[in-house]
């Protein structure tokens, strides 16, 4: 397909950061983790996302530090390449093309120039068979090299990458699959294997789940499905090998990690408790409980001062070696299912969906950052399997973002169904949503659909439920309540032939409300609550309903269960066109006329983007993903693209994100967009002595300027420099507060910038008459000078910072001071 060549499906934003173990740079300043197609670099101190390493075209499956250079990192991806990055500058150094999908990467100091990779054996896709291969990296200066020198190490490899680990100094590699542990010695080229019984008498499940090797001793720690940890020793003997068993975890051990000195072993599992075992004295252990989701990976920094754990709720926790949590990097929380639609908060432009149980999460896709959780259920969540607890199932924002409606529900069977409709008002003062109204029995049965009217003046909520009614809710309509409180109450109850409604939707100008009752669509006027017309296009129950936007607002789109996509013209009340396609999700773009339709056919999902006015798709993308798509959203762009290409034009103003059944958040990216991002990432060339925080960027820039200043003998005369002062303040004020240094440092610097320096000629009383504009310029230039001094001091410079004036200059200055400047007054007065 020619059309889709420059539009790709990418994992960009809201991806899993917990797929692979995070790595901590050797100076403990950065945490690197894979996130979709990117490798992200975070600061350990501020938890800020600094930049990302972009270049892979598919899921990144493994990262590891280059043992030869601690400032470089290797990453491998399903796209079949290994890339070497300078992760501090975010520069791609080299690409090694391997040619088959890669699933994990391992390196060892002893094996320089050799990478160990998990590749999928290409026999057949059903039998997931993995192979561990070593790849010799060709020494070539080219940017992109094809690495062909591969040799297989073993094919008894588990698909779990944590079941493979290098032993002491890279002498051997240990890998386990199912019930067998293998240790391959490189020097002897011999594999020793040890098997466990599937179950012992007590019904323990012995399958291996993870492996870690002691850094200095020949000891292999293995985790097992039943929660046991075994420490294997003496494994060069077929029979005289031995192991000791420790048992604390009550369920499978997910990950094991030795500290770099080998004094402790860290383990984690579903309990979300980080356990630290003292090596050698095995029953002495420490715990760090209540870390959130279950622990999936643990990694330790090379000096052993920091640990990182990644959790199943898409979170990375940075932990000090004293077992204190010092930072949390939260990704998009993905539970088992997203029950609410994907929504965009109109105020923060954040993506809103189910987060922690009973919460809505607000996630900024632009900054790829978790903003906050809103507790909807406001009840304690009890972690117990099979317990029926309240869950947010529906949520809707009004057009301004000042109201949020949520429905929480408990009871899978309708007999003991319990649900609440809650309305939340946005509080400007606290900048968050505050509960306004709770409606306990909004309907007698489950709420199916809910939408706000889109008009600016009156906000109205319409809910449609399985009790064959739809209700309209308005604010403050109830006369009984006190006047100053704006509670919500029911305004209108509508029904149609006792049919169960399936969907409701307001037109773009809120003048019409469409409610679908099984196969019939009814159009109502919200002002008078009179049913205007019914539209009927049998057969099939209406599945999705949406109005066209902007120029196409006269069209109403609907999809049915009988694989029909219909478009009605509301002016003529006739069917404009219809086509036979199985649409699983219909998503209108709020900023254009475009409508995106996901259709699931023969085990893959296709995307069509079209305008309701014409039954011809603007853009088609076959085989977007292999799962069904039920949730999608258009996210507005910060700055629109200006692509003229017809196929990419629909992505100019907003970006389409969609969620697959595997809970992967995918999006489309255009070639121009990628080019822009690549070019911007290359600009960052940063001194590696300072952490890359926005504040650093700010200061670093000024230091360069200041160096420039120092070289100039008369900085005052430099015109362009004078505007820099206000820029500094502006940048200072626009920098997020949490990345700024202490206020005491900034304060003096800030105040100094306003002080009038005594080194200049301004002390002359006549100066007061000077042009105000000129004065401002002067003060700015002074501030700049002071600024630079301040910075020098802050850097602990030993240089004398008093004005560097020679004796002759001082004399000259005194002479100037004594000079009568009264002639200047006339000069100024004469100025227009």
């Amino acid at each position: 397909m020619v059309e889709t060549s420059d539009i790709r499906v990418v994992r960009c934003g809201g991806s899993k950061v917990n797929l692979t173990p995070p790595i901590i740079s050797s100076d403990s300043r950065f945490v690197l983790c894979t996130s979709g197609d990117l490798v992200k670099v975070y600061s350990t101190r501020t938890e800020e996302w600094l930049h990302s390493l972009q270049g892979h075209t598919n899921q990144v499956t493994g990262i590891t530090l280059n043992p030869a250079n601690h400032l470089q990192v290797y990453s491998c991806s399903v796209d079949g390449t290994v890339k070497l990055w300078d992760f501090i500058d975010g520069i791609l150094i080299k690409t090694f093309v391997i040619g088959c999908p890669l699933f994990a990467i391992y390196v060892s100091e002893k094996h320089t120039g050799v990478l160990f990779l998990h590749v999928s054996m290409a026999t057949d896709s059903k039998n997931e068979c993995f192979q561990l291969v070593s790849v010799h990296l060709p020494k070539s200066a080219e940017q992109e090299v094809e690495a062909k020198e591969m040799s297989a190490v073993s094919s008894h490899i588990s698909k779990n990458p944590s079941c493979t680990a290098f032993g002491r100094g890279g002498e051997y590699i240990a890998f386990a699959r199912h019930l067998q542990l293998n240790v391959y010695f490189f020097r002897k080229q011999k594999t020793y294997s040890f098997s466990l019984k599937a179950t012992d008498k007590k019904g323990a499940k012995n399958a291996f789940t993870c492996i870690a090797c002691h850094p200095t001793d020949d000891c292999i720690a293995t985790g097992h499905e039943d929660g046991k940890i075994r420490l294997w020793r003496n494994f060069i003997h077929k029979k005289e090998y031995t192991y000791s068993t420790q048992h604390w975890h009550h369920n499978a051990v997910n990950t094991l990690c030795f500290t770099p000195e080998g004094t402790h072993l860290l383990s984690g599992g579903i309990e979300s408790v980080l356990v630290q075992w003292q090596y050698g004295a095995d029953n002495r252990k420490e715990f760090l409980p209540r870390l959130g989701g279950s622990i999936l990976h643990i990694s330790a920094s090379s000096d052993g001062q920091l640990f990182c754990t990644s959790h199943s709720d898409n979170k990375i926790t940075v932990i000090e070696s004293s077992f204190k949590v010092c930072g949390v990097i939260q990704g998009l929380v993905k539970g088992d299912a997203v029950l609410t639609d994907l929504m965009i908060d109109p105020r923060s432009k954040a993506l809103v969906l189910n987060g922690k149980p009973g919460h809505l999460q607000f996630y900024s896709l632009l900054r790829d950052k978790h903003l906050y959780n809103l507790d909807i259920v406001q009840q304690e969540y009890i972690y117990e399997a099979g317990l029926d607890q309240f869950e947010v199932v529906k949520a809707a924002f009004d057009i301004k973002g000042s109201w949020l409606a949520t429905v929480e529900e408990r009871g899978k069977k309708s007999s003991d169904l319990e649900f609440f409709l809650k309305l939340w008002a946005f509080d400007e003062r606290t900048q968050s949503f505050v509960l306004n109204t709770t409606i306990t029995a909004a309907h007698t049965d489950r709420i199916i659909s809910m939408c706000f009217s889109s008009s600016e003046e009156t906000t109205m909520l319409v809910t449609a439920a399985e009790d064959s009614q739809f209700k309209a809710w308005c604010q403050g309509a109830d006369a009984d309540t006190q006047q100053d409180q704006n509670f919500w109450s029911c305004d209108f109850v509508g029904s149609y032939h006792k049919l169960n409604p399936t969907n409701c939707s307001f037109s773009a100008d809120s003048s019409l409300l469409a409610v679908s009752f099984q196969e019939v669509i009814t159009i109502w006027s919200p002002d008078t609550w009179e049913m205007l017309t019914t539209l009927c296009q049998p057969p099939g129950v209406i599945r999705d309903l949406c109005f066209g936007r902007l120029s196409c607002s006269k069209y109403l789109l609907g999809t049915t269960t009988k694989n029909l996509l219909c478009c009605w013209n509301l002016l003529t009340c006739e069917l404009e066109w219809s086509t036979s396609v199985d649409v699983s999700k219909l998503q209108p773009d709020p900023f254009s006329e475009n409508v995106a339709a996901f259709s699931y056919q023969s085990k893959h999902t296709d995307l069509f983007v079209f305008k309701p006015s014409e039954p011809r798709p603007l853009f088609t993308n076959k085989n977007v993903c292999s799962e069904k798509v039920h949730r999608a959203v258009f996210v507005p762009r910060e700055e629109p693209l200006n692509s003229c290409d017809e196929s990419t034009q629909w992505l100019n103003r907003s970006q389409l994100y969609f969620l697959t059944q595997n809970m992967d958040l995918l999006t489309f990216s255009t070639a121009t967009e990628e080019d822009r991002m690549l070019s911007s990432s290359k600009q960052l060339v940063i001194d590696d002595s300072v952490a890359v925080t926005p504040f650093y960027l700010l200061l670093g820039k000024h230091r360069q300027q200041q160096q420039k200043l120092n070289t100039q003998s008369h900085p005052v005369s430099d015109k362009p420099q004078q505007t820099q002062g206000s820029v500094t303040i502006k940048e200072l004020l626009h920098t997020p507060a949490h990345v700024l240094p202490a206020a005491s440092v900034l304060c003096s610097m800030f105040v100094n910038s306003f002080l009038i320096s005594n080194t200049g000629v301004q002390q002359d009383p006549l100066r007061e008459e000077m042009d105000s504009e000129k004065e401002e310029e002067d003060s700015e230039e002074e501030m700049e000078a002071c600024d630079s001094q301040q910075e020098l001091r802050a850097q602990g410079s030993v240089d004398e910072v008093t004005p560097k004036l020679s004796k002759a200059q001082e004399r000259e200055l005194k002479r100037v001071r004594k000079t009568d400047f009264s002639w200047m007054a006339g000069l100024i007065d004469s100025k227009p």
């Binding site: 002491r168 200095t216 001793d217 020949d218 000891c219 020793r233 003496n234 494994f235 060069i236 003997h237 029979k239 005289e240 090998y241 031995t242 192991y243 000791s244 068993t245 009550h250 050698g280 004295a281 095995d282 029953n283 002495r284």
Partner: protein
């Protein structure tokens, strides 16, 4: 297979006694076990842990320690004496008082020259081991508190002694203390409690390993007297330690019932810097482990729950076989029950008394497998207490039920039983012949006219019984050699013509009772005889061995029978060989001459010699399969071994003369319920 009426007897309240000490002798591969009741047992380690010798204990004789010196076995106990045992005659040889109060521990040096005992008064006393006795040599420096544990340095020049709160190292030459190692007390409330060093082990490289009541296994250096490393093994006490011969493995028994293994492993493979690393944990006991022994291929442990557990170390075992399986020994490998076959009486032997019971009677016939209505309950007729402090060594009731005999280490008593209706009375036969002063094994002839007693003097004495009393008839001696009949499985055939005896050297002698001469000797087999029987019609001797082999020997032809040769040629089924308890009785069914009835602790088996033997491919336990087959095909699928696993924990099976079987069971749950409560442990999710 045949159907039997079965008396299922569960009123024999036999309680095995807890194990207090273990001593392993590597040269003769025997392990000696001392129990709480003062009895000492000797197990043969390479012969499937068959219990070769039992030396019954005495009242008030708490053994605290056991030690081998060469092939001699010594024990010491809280009565303050050191005892040497006569292992051939299975009795106490002599006792020497150490004059130091109760003795807590005894240890012999590797050279076999000296014994050291640790006494309550704080002295370590050295005894010289002479040819026939031991001789007190001297005391080492007296300490303030009692000596709990002792260990010799393999060179014999130093002794480490565990005491309260400390370990002392003595120089044996000078008798002075060289180092004092202070053991830490526990933390918290247990700080006020003394730390008892329950066990010490002195290694040849100068490392001292101690196990104490705080739950620590500590490693000390004897040169500097410093602590090298400590392992917290348990929250309770570490009661016992044992090190393997090449000092690369150490086991520690705790009061939680776990055995913890430590191994001397190089931390970096292929290099020599080794460290003691805690490796495996075995949990086979429910109660305190009082003694452990690391034998070359296994860890043997015993404790308050009275079972001896042999846990094989599979890394040391050359070939995995039934001999190297986990083994738990609950009951003695000899019979404690004798039955009067003709009168339905049973004699139960307890350590300190005998009980005589009459079997109950049932009504009518039932379906196979159903239980019958009991018409008359079993009835305890007699409770006979032993005179004196010694425990009973052996006992027997005559087939007619008129005579009861028992023997202790010092005396033998014969009683005549009078039973008229409900009045039971006994009269002691007063004038016994001199030869009947003590017996190792006792047996009545099948017509109850004679008593056979295996004496300590390498012979079987023959005594005739009559209304008036008893009269010594003669002595049966083997043809050659001075060998004593050690462990004698003694058996008499039906017509009184033949008598067979087996001794501890695995020899089986057959005597002709009419001529009172030795008839022949069965070729010696490497394994011990656990049970034997003489077939009433064919006069063949059927023998069961500890390694689960079986032999049939024709007495008249003085050679193995054809069937026996066929068994040897074809080999026995794998499942038969993998059983871990020895056969304890061989019986013959007069109605089916080709049937041999056998039993061990877990099963009852009838061997039909007329059917083909199973090979390894055939299904061994095939009763259920046979039942499902039609009548015609059964013949082709059946084989010689019919195994019945209905009964468990069998102490004795006997075929009565009315064709009913008596099965005496002692369920292990009943034994466990009578044990004291174990240490309470927190278990996850309880």
């Amino acid at each position: 297979m045949g159907e039997f009426k079965v008396h299922r007897v569960r009123f024999f309240d036999y309680m095995p006694s807890g194990i207090r000490a273990l001593a392993f002798n590597r040269d003769i591969e025997r392990i000696a076990v001392a129990r709480m009741d003062g009895s000492v047992e000797v197990f043969h380690c390479s012969d499937r842990f068959f219990q070769e010798k039992i030396i019954p204990g005495r009242e008030q004789c708490g053994i605290e320690g056991l030690s081998w010196v060469g092939e001699r076995l010594f024990s010491a106990g809280l009565n303050g004496g050191i005892t040497e045992y006569d292992l051939t005659n299975q009795k106490v040889k002599y006792t020497v008082d150490a004059y130091g109060g109760p003795i807590w521990t005894i240890a012999g040096n590797q050279q076999g020259t000296h014994l050291a005992v640790g006494c309550e008064d704080g002295t370590v006393k050295l005894f010289e081991v002479n040819e026939d006795k031991i001789q007190f040599e001297r005391n080492l420096d007296r300490q303030k508190s009692r000596i709990i544990s002792l260990s010799w340095h393999p060179s014999g020049s130093k002794i480490a002694a565990g005491m309260m709160d400390m370990i002392q190292i003595f120089n044996v030459e000078t008798g002075h203390s060289v180092h004092r190692l202070l053991a830490d007390r526990g933390v918290g409330t247990s700080r006020s409690k003394e730390c008892v060093v329950w066990s010490v082990v002195y290694l040849s490289d100068g490392t001292i390993i101690s196990g104490d009541s705080v739950g620590m296994v500590k490693l000390w250096d004897d040169q500097t007297g410093t602590l090298i490393k400590s392992h917290n093994v348990t929250k309770c006490d570490v009661l016992a330690l044992s090190v393997s011969q090449n000092e690369d493995s150490l086991v520690a028994g705790t009061s939680e019932g776990t055995v913890v293994q430590f191994q001397f492993i190089s931390m970096v493979l292929g290099k020599d810097d080794k460290e003691w690393v805690r490796t495996r944990t075995f949990k086979n006991h429910t109660h305190d482990i009082r003694a452990v022994a690391e034998i070359t291929t296994a860890v043997v442990s015993g404790g308050m729950d009275a079972q001896l557990v042999v846990r094989p170390l599979l890394d040391k075992v050359e070939v995995r076989s039934a001999a190297s399986a986990l083994r738990k020994i609950h009951f003695p490998h000899r019979r404690l029950v004798s039955c009067a076959r003709k009168s339905g009486l049973m004699l139960f032997q307890y350590p300190g008394h005998l009980e005589l019971w009459r079997l109950g009677e049932s009504e009518g016939k039932g379906m196979p497998g159903s239980s019958l209505f009991v018409k008359r309950n079993p009835e305890k007729l007699l409770h006979l207490k032993v005179k004196g402090e010694d425990h009973i060594r052996c006992s027997a009731v005559s087939p007619c039920g008129e005579w009861i005999v028992y023997s202790t280490a010092s005396s033998l008593r014969l009683y005549r039983l009078h039973c008229d209706n409900n009045n039971v009375s006994i009269t002691k036969i007063s004038k016994l012949p001199m030869v009947l002063s003590s017996a190792n094994q006792l047996c009545f002839s099948s017509d109850s006219s004679h008593l056979f007693s295996a004496s300590t003097q390498s012979s079987v004495h023959l005594v005739s019984l009559s209304q008036s009393g008893c009269k010594f008839v003669g002595t049966l001696k083997p043809k050659s050699g001075e060998r004593t009949i050690g462990f004698g499985v003694l058996h008499i055939i039906e017509d009184g013509k033949w008598l067979a005896s087996a001794n501890s050297d695995h020899e089986v002698h057959i005597y002709n009772l009419q001529t009172r001469k030795a008839h022949c000797t069965v070729p010696v087999y490497s394994s011990a005889v656990t049970a034997m029987g003489i077939h009433p019609t064919t006069n063949c001797l059927f023998m069961m061995y500890a390694d689960q082999q079986m032999c049939e020997y024709s007495i008249e032809q003085k050679q193995y029978t054809d069937w026996s040769r066929m068994v040897q040629r074809k080999g026995l089924h794998r499942f038969w060989m993998e059983r871990d308890t020895p056969c304890l009785n061989v019986m013959f069914n007069p109605q089916h001459p080709s049937h041999v009835i056998l039993h061990d602790t877990y099963m009852l088996c009838i061997i039909d010699q007329s059917l083909p033997l199973p090979d390894d491919k055939t299904q061994f336990y095939n009763q259920l399969t046979l039942k499902s087959l039609p009548e015609e095909q059964r013949k082709s699928h059946s084989h010689a071994f019919k195994v019945c696993k209905t009964f468990k924990d069998i102490l004795c099976v006997e075929l009565m003369s009315d064709q009913s079987l008596v099965v005496v069971e002692r369920p292990l749950e009943d034994v466990a319920s009578q044990l004291p409560a174990p240490i309470k442990q927190k278990k996850f999710a309880t």
